[in-house]
Structure formats: structure tokens, C-alpha cells
């Protein structure tokens, strides 16, 4: 596809890099020539210096032939204008990053008029992600499929866990549970396991289950599952606001520690139910005073990555709280993964993932039917949701007789709102939604799950 990306900031760069890897023809536009130059030198794309909202610049960037324009500059207004101009000039799909809460509420209303295909609010998306994690403290990351009826959860096997040295097939026989382990990360390698695969301590396990069953599973293997009762948030930015709002709705007690008095007053105005503390969170007495040792969850959301890391490490040493750490820089994730920081949230990466998901779905929408796509395990594994519209070589055949590709697994069949964990005799039928987990990238159609 021909894609124009306006804005070469961190998100712009990471979206550009990803999409370029997926063989799209990309033109980047930015007003800062040094940024464009940098991008062009390191990624195989064309660069144009100029204002992305100007008709001339967009024409030069080939908006007439573009399929999609992604506006991710620092300014909401510019992003919206870019999309508007591109829509009128080329009639392409448009994605805008809109982060101001006031706009993002409006955009939902006038999205139709502006012809926007999608808006992303990175802070809101990050807050949603954190709140989901706090709902399930044992899991490290959760993705939802089939409109929330199925989830992919990720958790690490601890030392004294019941599951250590269990073969996968024993989970359903010994524990009597209907869950499906779809991917296991072990020491940098990713496995799509079969029944004989034996789990080990420190494995990172991804499994598919309906939300209720997931709770049951965690209970049976002896992991604490109740959702947290209170949360301590350090840093009172936009994410903190969205998150606190979510958590308060779920009747979770929220304490926000914020340095600026002004911001504290704003927050107190917007979140009357939350406890707002004005103070320096890097001063340990402030945190201890507010009951850090007893809190059930601790979320570090300051603007400085270093501070967030230190705060989380400190919280880990003083309490047994579930930790969430926000990191802005994406570049050092290999080092960060090795630290005991609980769940790490990269708002930029979440934004990128949202955009990628849209682009892939858009590309697939032509000949195929990928509804949702998630990348797991650092992008090594893809979980795809297919909607079966018509008859194809995979329909109405027992799964055990299908010749599936290597490293591919049918995770779940969703039939008329009922979730089926597939066994050998089950069949895929027209109208089903099927979740496929695989290390083979770029599946376009449900037919692609068969060996070619």
C-alpha cells in the first residue's frame, strides 16, 4: 500500500520502521528537514520536507495515489487538518493522533464529518492497558478478542508454581481446565507448544481463555487473582487522569502523588473521589507516609523514564504491590525487560501497535478477513482473528484432519457468542470467528493456515 506518514517524531519513526518492514511504499513528511533526512537515511522510504497540512506538499507526497495517511505530529490541530486535506485531495483513509481530552471527545462526534478512519489517543490507550492489567494482577499483559469474549493473557511461571514441569496436556487432564497455551517464551526463543511440551520455571506463558475461566485458572494454580483494591499512582499527567477515572469506576481506591500544586488542584477538581497528594515522590518519606508498604498496586507515570524505573524498584523493595512502570523510550527494552519492574507500559509502542493493527486489517480487508491482529512476544508471534464469511477448504472438516502449517495453532473458535476451545473433532463453520496463533507472519486469509 502507499502510505503517507506526517510527523517524524518517536511514534512516526517507529510506525515508519514497522510498516517499511512490511513492504509498504512509504513517504514521510515533516517540517524539520533534519528529521526527514535521518529517517530517509535509515529506513527505506521517501522523505519530503514541508507542512503536511499543505495541499502542495501532500500532492508532492503523492496523496492522489495514497491509500492511507497517518498524522502523528505533536499537534492535534495539525493532525486533524492533515487528515482533512488528505481526505479532500486524495480520498484516502486517514488516521490522526489526537491527545487533548477535549478534542478526543469531540472527534468521536465529528469523525464522520472529517472523514477520519481512526483517531488514537496514546495516553488514553495506555491508561486502558494499565487498568486492564490491574484488573488481573497475576497476568502481565492482556489482549482481547472477539469483542472482549476471549482474552490472551501472559504470565511468568514463578519458582514454586504448580505448573513448573507440567506438560501442556496435563493442564486439562489434571486440573480439568479448558484453557489453551498458545505460546511460550523461554530465554529469548518462542515456542508454539504441542501437548507434550513441558513448562519450566521462568517461562513466559501466553494462553487463551474466556475471562471467567482465566480467573478460575489462576485460582487453581494457586496464584492470587482478585483485582486490586487500591492503587498508588505517581505522576499526575494525562495517563494518570484517564487511569484514575477508570479505576474509580471499578471502585478501586486511587492515590495520586504529583509535584505541581497547580496540577494537583486541577486533578482534585476533575477527580473528586481520588486522594491527591502534593509532594515529591522521589522523597521516600512521602511514599512511605502514604502507605506504600500496604498498597496493592503501584503505577509509576512520571515524565522521566529513569525516575519511573527507580520508583518501581523502590516500591518492589518496600511492598508486595503489583507494579506498573511507564517507559517512554522504546530503544532500551532489552535491558528493561531484565529488570524487576512488573508490567512495563510503552505508550509510544501502544500507539504504534494500534496503527499497525489498523493498517494490517485495512490491507487484509481486500482479499481476506482478519478482524484483529496482535503481536505477542516482541512481535515474534501473531495472534489473528478471522471471520469466516464463506466456504473455504478449512470449513466443516475436523481439525485433526487438517494439514496445518508448522508453528501454528487454532486458539479458539467463537460460535454465536459461545467460546469453544478447539479439540481434534471440532470443525470450523461459516459464521465462526477463529483465533489463530502463529509464528508465521503475514497470514492474509484463513486458507493460509494450511500447508501450501
Amino acid at each position: 500500500m502507499n502510505i503517507i506518514i506526517v510527523g517524524c517524531g518517536k511514534v512516526g519513526r517507529s510506525v515508519t520502521e514497522q510498516l517499511s518492514k512490511e513492504e509498504h511504499d512509504i513517504t514521510v513528511v515533516d517540517i524539520r528537514s533534519d528529521r526527514v533526512e535521518m529517517t530517509v537515511n535509515t529506513v527505506d522510504v521517501m522523505g519530503i520536507v514541508g507542512n503536511g497540512a499543505s495541499y502542495e506538499v501532500l500532492t508532492e507526497a503523492g496523496v492522489k495515489k495514497a491509500h492511507l495517511l497517518i498524522a502523528v505530529t505533536g499537534s492535534d490541530e495539525l493532525n486533524l487538518l492533515c487528515c482533512l486535506v488528505a481526505r479532500k485531495a486524495g480520498g484516502c483513509h486517514t488516521i490522526a493522533r489526537v491527545r487533548n481530552p477535549e478534542y478526543s471527545r469531540q472527534v468521536a462526534l465529528i469523525k464522520e464529518d472529517l472523514g477520519l478512519s481512526m483517531t488514537i489517543n496514546p495516553e488514553y490507550a495506555a491508561a486502558m492497558e494499565i487498568s486492564r492489567i490491574l484488573r488481573f494482577p497475576s497476568a502481565m499483559k492482556i489482549e482481547t478478542f472477539a469483542k472482549g469474549r476471549v482474552e490472551i493473557l501472559q504470565f511468568r511461571i514463578q519458582k514454586n508454581s504448580l505448573l513448573a514441569n507440567y506438560a501442556i496436556s496435563e493442564i486439562s487432564t489434571k486440573l480439568g481446565l479448558d484453557i489453551l497455551v498458545c505460546a511460550v517464551e523461554r530465554g529469548g526463543e518462542v515456542f508454539i507448544p504441542n501437548g507434550n511440551f513441558v513448562l519450566e520455571v521462568q517461562d513466559l506463558v501466553h494462553f487463551i481463555a474466556p475471562p471467567k475461566k482465566a480467573g478460575e485458572f489462576f485460582q487453581k494454580i494457586g496464584v492470587d487473582t482478585h483485582q486490586v483494591k487500591d492503587a498508588m499512582i505517581v505522576g499526575g499527567g494525562k495517563i494518570a487522569y484517564y487511569l484514575a477515572k477508570q479505576l474509580l469506576n471499578m471502585r478501586i481506591k486511587v492515590t495520586i502523588v504529583e509535584m505541581s500544586k497547580e496540577r494537583c488542584e486541577q486533578l482534585s477538581d476533575m477527580l473528586p473521589q481520588a486522594m491527591i497528594i502534593q509532594g515529591d515522590a522521589t522523597d521516600e518519606t512521602t511514599l512511605m507516609e502514604e502507605g506504600l508498604p500496604y498498597t496493592e498496586s503501584f503505577v509509576a507515570l512520571t515524565n522521566l523514564d529513569e525516575e519511573n524505573i527507580l520508583l518501581s524498584l523502590f516500591a518492589a523493595s518496600k511492598s508486595r504491590a503489583k507494579l506498573v512502570t511507564k517507559i517512554n523510550r522504546v530503544n532500551f527494552n532489552e535491558i528493561i525487560d531484565n529488570m524487576d519492574l512488573g508490567s512495563v507500559i510503552y505508550p509510544k509502542k501502544i500507539t504504534t501497535d494500534y496503527i499497525l493493527q489498523y493498517v494490517r486489517a485495512m490491507q487484509n480487508s481486500i482479499g481476506s478477513n482478519v478482524e484483529t491482529l496482535y503481536q505477542l512476544a516482541d512481535g515474534n508471534v501473531e495472534a489473528l482473528e478471522f471471520y469466516i464469511r464463506e466456504d473455504s477448504p478449512v470449513v466443516n472438516i475436523p481439525l485433526e484432519t487438517l494439514k496445518l502449517r508448522e508453528n501454528l495453532l487454532i486458539g479458539c473458535i467463537n460460535r454465536k457468542g459461545k467460546v469453544i476451545t478447539p479439540r481434534g473433532q471440532d470443525m470450523i463453520q461459516v459464521g465462526d470467528t477463529v483465533i489463530v496463533v502463529t509464528t508465521n507472519q503475514g497470514l492474509r486469509d484463513i486458507k493460509d493456515i494450511l500447508q501450501s
Binding site: 518492514k21 513517504t27 530517509v40 537515511n41 535509515t42 521517501m46
Partner: protein, 478 residues
């Protein structure tokens, strides 16, 4: 420095050169020439070396500007060495330095020869000499980018180091597609020229060799009198195509993409044609009494002007006998060179346009010291970085130029000879004046001077900096 990647790309360059050597091999087969064995031997050795070097793909395929420059410079040196081997082995140019000079002159599209009698060479050697022009014209690494599945954006550095001009940009988002489009246009124009020359009853072999020489703006002739012996029609076709190959290839892409109006507006191309027109007019009027008719003098004037400004170096007449003003104009044209993004050499019209605009801006600055003005070209502001790099280019160019003139004075030849010899090699033209004039050759220089001139040819083709970086110790530090 990612030496593994440099090794890998050099290996592919050898493979590609081996593939290109099929052309002289086939020629030798057709004409039953024994020299063909020399080409076959070198071809097999090059392919074997290339195969060994490319067998293992490096884990780390990321290359930066430094690797890009070094790879390009080394590739051209390696290519020239391999290209020289058949000349030595077949015994047609027995001295190694001479053979290397001929090969460097070929690949850099210079066309300066050390041979007094080219007609004595075998056909396969002749076609290889001309074919090296064709390979060198668009660049072997651009070819590599077009055919190899080298994924990733870092390869832009290779293209930047090999393509001429102050700022290299892509035509389409992907480097590979861009390289393919460039070669597509290149091959298309070459074929068109061959067909047009065949229509003028040129023998097929001559048409092929001449088209290769024209396309790369090289200038190796296969006859001792260069192009002089062919009909007026053929000479005119060559004139037109020399000028066409000196045009920025972006213009052809724009025309093909249906944006002819934008193409016509290119200031560089306009300037290029303006210079040609002015030079042809003045020279035609100055040489009228030397030829039988106005048409004939215009034909010769146009051919020589086209040949010199595009840095091809073919000739139809001995312009060393022309009046002083014509010779001076030709020398100036040597420095002007063709458009950026073409196959020609020289300083490039776009650099001159930028420089003239800078001078104009500075003059305005004297009158209005507080004025601020951005230099623009084709409606786009020119970044200060580009202006700076053009200035640095010109200074470096002058230093290399006068340094080389000084170095080759060891042979104690006349100033005009030395001056035009360096001008003709550094600008990748071929013939100069006096003792290196169109009817003479470079055989009279000592080995030392030949090495200096070889360096000039490579530096000129690669726009100075890759060759200079090769000589900078900091490049080789880890």
C-alpha cells in the same frame, strides 16, 4: 566499521562483473577471437572469488555512511583491477599500469586512452572497453541495488555515494524500485539509440559499442578517428543522445509519470540547454570558414559541445585546430559538466546554479546587510547544508585539481597539456588539448603521472569524497 558487510557487497560486485564479462566472451565467440579465453579466465576467477565472498551473509547487515563510502570506493577500485586483467592476459595491452589506466578510464566513463592504434585491438576487447562505460555510467552499485534483495533503508548510503549531484533523492519510496526505474530508463534510451543508429546503416557491432560509450558518457571510440568517419546522420544521432544522457534522469521519470510540465520547469535542465545553445552558437560562427557550409560547422560545433559538456569525449574533428575562443569555451564546458543525476561528470550544472545564486545572495547582502534571503531552486528552498556541501565540494575540487597538475609536471610537458589532461580526467571527459588532444593519447605520461590521473578519474566519477575518505586514517578506525 562493518567489514563483513563491505566484504559481502564487494563479493556481489565481483559476481556482477563476472556476469557482465559474458558480453566480451560472446563477442569473442561470434568473431572467433583467441582473446576471448582471457575474458573467460578472468570471468571464472571473478565469479569464484565473488562466490566465496558472498557465501556467508553477515549477521549484522546495517551499514552507515562510512561503510557506504568505503564500499563504493573499494568496489570501483576492485572493478577496475578485474576489468584490467583481460587486457594484460590477452597481451593486447601488455603493461599492467597501461591496462589499469584503460580500465579505470572505462569504468569512470572518462574515455582517455593510452592506445595509439585502437583499430589493432580485437573485437572482444573493444566491446569490453565500451561496455565498461555503460556499467560505470549508471553505477554498478545502483545495479546491485536494483537486482539484489537487500532489504532495509541503510542502502541509501550506497546510492548516495555513487550517484552524482549535490543532493541525491529517491524517485519512489523504495531504493530497489528507484534503482530499477533508473536502469530501466538507461536501458531504454540505450536501445533507442542503437535502433536509430542501425537505421543509419551503421554496422551492428559499431552501433553497440558506440551506444555503450554514449550512454555512459564515456567516449572510447572503436576507430582511430573516433566518430569522424561515420555519416552526418549518425553523428547527429550521437550528438542528440549524448546531450540526452547528460540530462538529470529524474526529468525522464517525471515525464514518464505524466508530469512533463514539472520536468520542463527544472532550472538545472533549463540552464544545461541554455549553456549548450550559447556555446554551439558562438563556436558555429567562429569556425564557419574552416568547413564547407554553415550546416557542417554547426554539426561539428554541436557534436563537440555535446561531447564535452556531457563529458563523453567523442570527437568528429580535431578541435585542437580550432580558434582560441572555441578551445577556451570547450575547456570551460569541461568544468561545467552535465546535470546532477545523469551519467555525466564534471562539477554539474546544479552546483553552478546553486553557487551563482549564493553569489547573488551575498551581493545583495553587501547592499542590505540585514537582509535575509533563502536560496531557492525549482521553488524549493535549498538547505544551508546543501550550500555548504557545494562550497566544500568546489574547494576540494580545486585542491585536487591543482595538486594533480603540480604532480604531473614531473614529466615536463607543456602547461596546456598538463592542465587539460587533469581537466579531462577529473571531469571524466577523455581528450584534452595539445599532446592529449582528440587525435593524441595519454601514452606519453610516466607511470607515476598515470597513477595520479587514475586517482583523478575515480575521484571525479565518485564526486571526490569517497576516494578521499579511503585515504583518511579515521575511516579505518573502529
Amino acid at each position: 566499521m562493518n567489514f563483513q558487510m563491505v566484504r559481502y557487497i564487494l563479493g556481489w560486485v565481483m559476481n556482477i562483473e563476472a556476469a557482465f564479462m559474458a558480453v566480451p566472451c560472446i563477442t569473442a565467440l561470434v568473431y572467433q577471437e583467441r582473446s576471448g579465453y582471457a575474458f573467460l579466465l578472468v570471468m571464472l576467477c571473478s565469479a569464484l572469488a565473488g562466490f566465496l565472498l558472498t557465501r556467508k551473509k553477515p549477521h549484522n547487515t546495517v551499514i552507515y555512511a562510512r561503510e557506504g563510502f568505503v564500499t563504493v570506493a573499494l568496489s570501483w577500485i576492485v572493478m577496475s583491477f578485474i576489468g584490467a586483467m583481460p587486457f594484460v592476459i590477452s597481451g593486447e595491452i601488455p603493461r599492467f599500469v597501461d591496462a589499469l589506466f584503460e580500465s579505470v578510464s572505462g569504468f569512470t566513463t572518462t574515455g582517455a586512452s593510452i592506445l595509439a592504434d585502437v583499430e589493432a585491438l580485437s573485437r572482444c576487447t573493444l566491446i569490453w572497453r565500451s561496455f565498461t562505460h555503460w556499467i560505470g555510467g549508471m553505477g554498478v552499485l545502483v545495479f546491485l541495488l536494483a537486482v539484489l534483495p537487500l532489504a532495509g533503508g541503510y542502502y541509501m548510503y550506497l546510492m548516495k555515494a555513487e550517484s552524482p549531484g549535490p543532493s541525491v533523492s529517491k524517485l519512489v519510496p523504495k531504493v530497489k524500485r528507484t534503482a530499477m526505474i533508473l536502469y530501466g530508463i538507461y536501458i531504454g534510451l540505450t536501445i533507442l539509440q542503437i535502433i536509430l543508429m542501425l537505421l543509419g546503416d551503421m554496422p551492428f557491432f559499431d552501433a553497440l559499442a558506440t551506444a555503450f560509450g554514449t550512454a555512459g558518457t564515456g567516449g572510447f571510440g572503436i576507430k582511430n578517428d573516433s566518430i569522424g568517419g561515420y555519416s552526418a546522420y549518425i553523428q547527429n544521432v550521437i550528438t542528440i543522445f549524448m546531450i540526452l544522457f547528460g540530462v538529470n534522469f529524474n526529468v525522464y521519470y517525471l515525464i514518464l509519470a505524466g508530469k512533463a510540465r514539472q520536468a520542463v520547469k527544472s532550472q538545472e535542465v533549463r540552464g544545461y540547454f541554455l549553456i549548450i545553445l550559447a556555446a554551439v552558437t558562438v563556436i558555429t560562427l567562429s569556425v564557419t570558414d574552416m568547413y564547407s557550409s554553415l550546416w557542417e560547422s554547426m554539426r561539428h560545433a554541436a557534436f563537440q559541445v555535446g561531447s564535452i559538456i556531457t563529458t563523453t569525449g567523442f570527437s568528429t574533428t580535431n578541435f585542437d585546430l580550432w580558434p582560441q575562443n572555441c578551445k577556451t569555451i570547450l575547456i570551460i564546458l569541461m568544468f561545467v559538466g552535465a546535470c546532477a543525476g545523469s551519467t555525466g561528470g564534471g562539477i554539474k550544472v546544479s552546483r553552478l546554479v546553486i553557487l551563482l545564486k549564493t553569489v547573488k545572495k551575498e551581493l545583495a547582502h553587501f547592499i542590505h546587510p540585514r537582509s535575509i534571503k533563502k536560496i531557492k531552486m525549482d521553488g524549493h528552498p535549498i538547505e544551508h547544508e546543501v550550500v555548504r556541501s557545494v562550497n566544500v565540494f568546489l574547494i576540494t575540487y580545486a585542491v585536487i585539481f591543482f595538486g594533480s597538475v603540480l604532480l604531473i609536471t614531473v614529466d615536463n610537458l607543456s602547461f596546456t597539456t598538463n592542465f587539460t589532461a587533469v581537466a579531462a580526467t577529473l571531469n571524466n571527459i577523455g581528450p584534452g588539448l595539445e599532446m592529449v588532444g582528440p587525435t593524441q593519447n595519454f601514452g606519453l605520461f610516466s607511470d607515476f603521472s598515470k597513477v595520479v590521473l587514475m586517482f583523478d578519474m575515480l575521484a571525479g566519477r565518485l564526486e571526490l569524497f569517497p576516494m578521499l575518505l579511503l585515504l583518511t586514517p579515521a575511516t579505518w578506525r573502529r
